[in-house]
Symmetry: C2
Subunit: 235 residues, 2 copies
Amino acid sequence: MHSHKDAGRAADLVVETLAQKIQDGELADGQPLPPERDLMQEFGISRTVVREAVLALSNKGLIEARPRHRPVVRKPGYDAAFAALESIVTHLLHEPGGVKNLFDTRIFIEAALAREAAKHADKGAIFTLKGALEANRLAINDSEAFYQTDIAFHQALYAIPRNPVFPAINKAYTSWLAPQWSQMPRLPQRNQTNYEAHAEIYEAILMRDPDAAETALRKHLSSAWQQVRTTFGDI
Amino acid sequence: MHSHKDAGRAADLVVETLAQKIQDGELADGQPLPPERDLMQEFGISRTVVREAVLALSNKGLIEARPRHRPVVRKPGYDAAFAALESIVTHLLHEPGGVKNLFDTRIFIEAALAREAAKHADKGAIFTLKGALEANRLAINDSEAFYQTDIAFHQALYAIPRNPVFPAINKAYTSWLAPQWSQMPRLPQRNQTNYEAHAEIYEAILMRDPDAAETALRKHLSSAWQQVRTTFGDI
DNA sequence: TAACAATTTTGGTCATACCAAATAAACCAA
DNA sequence: TTGGTTTATTTGGTATGACCAAAATTGTTA
């Protein structure tokens, strides 16, 4: 079954086997992994190797290993995929131009999403968007709530294509860029501006005007980027 | 969300410290990591913990650890980031709808890229695209070469925004979807069709017609998806 | 100086032991 | 029976020490 080119890692076999069991559901989601000492016997290896395998599975996101707890099987979803990027992305963000590169891709994707929404969003999706916009408006004077509804509005945008990858992308964006965003001053006046931008995007989608939707969204996010720039300077 | 700092892992400190040194350049790219026995002394820990830390760094993509070789420091780039996704994406692709979800995002992004290119590509980028297209044409009768030039043409598209994230995305796409793609029959006739599709995309970009560029690209990739469907059935 | 042989270093694996936290079992009071 | 409290067991985290084989280094020779 396994044709190992370089027989350098005993743990690899264990990782593959367990990963397969997880994917096949033999180790169901939420179920704890067998104790390390059991795995030793099952595979005929030392605990060293078992631990190495468990570590690897944990870093791959297939199990969730809280310290001193039994590792729990986590069948990976699209969210987990992007979560695996966190550490490396964090590094990239600390390099010159890192934040801008990432933010530019966000603008790029959301602009395309706005266009897509204007073209193909069904009534239900538009209604959801309208609800998110209304919640956003009601929170203008509560900066903390506004932050949440702001995120929700964009989330609604990512949900429109009905492709689970997009919400996962958005989650990743918000979590990665949160450090920058959360340090920015919260001004009610700015909330008002952002709400109006959201409204403009919504209107364009409602009017089935892709160009207007894209333009409005680009303006909105570019403005947000400028705010970041004026807060942090060149990054 | 919540970052559980349960402080139960001695290895975490080592990982953070070494990661910091890598980011700061104190451990330069390409340089081997200190021997495990040295790290033991430096941090006053057992080899067990050192190995755990090294494993973690390896899984994070900050070092490259070939079996029985000294781990080599690899300052992560955008490519490495997506490479870290491989194992988990592989799992997702094996689930129902997984391939389609991923391919749909590819269509989505490339459509937006085509539009972007038609709007903002400079002469140099268009010239590069033209060269890729010509190479593509010359390889119509050599299916293996055609496959390569096909990839190169799309790569040229991803390079246009001059944002290093996009080429990395493309690399990830091609490597993840390669298993499906490489199993499809290579027909010169199909090469001809694909070349014409590429030419149509290029022409639209040259004419600065975003709508035509997007339409042409969507048609091209949707057709490719249909070919996948007819080869593999519902996946 | 280049090819080869001897030596040291270093990563991979195993076995054992101990501790503290987590879990399960036993127990007891209401 | 039930619910909470105490005790016993399990289990993950870490430390030591040992051994091997493959690398890397050094030394030697043609």
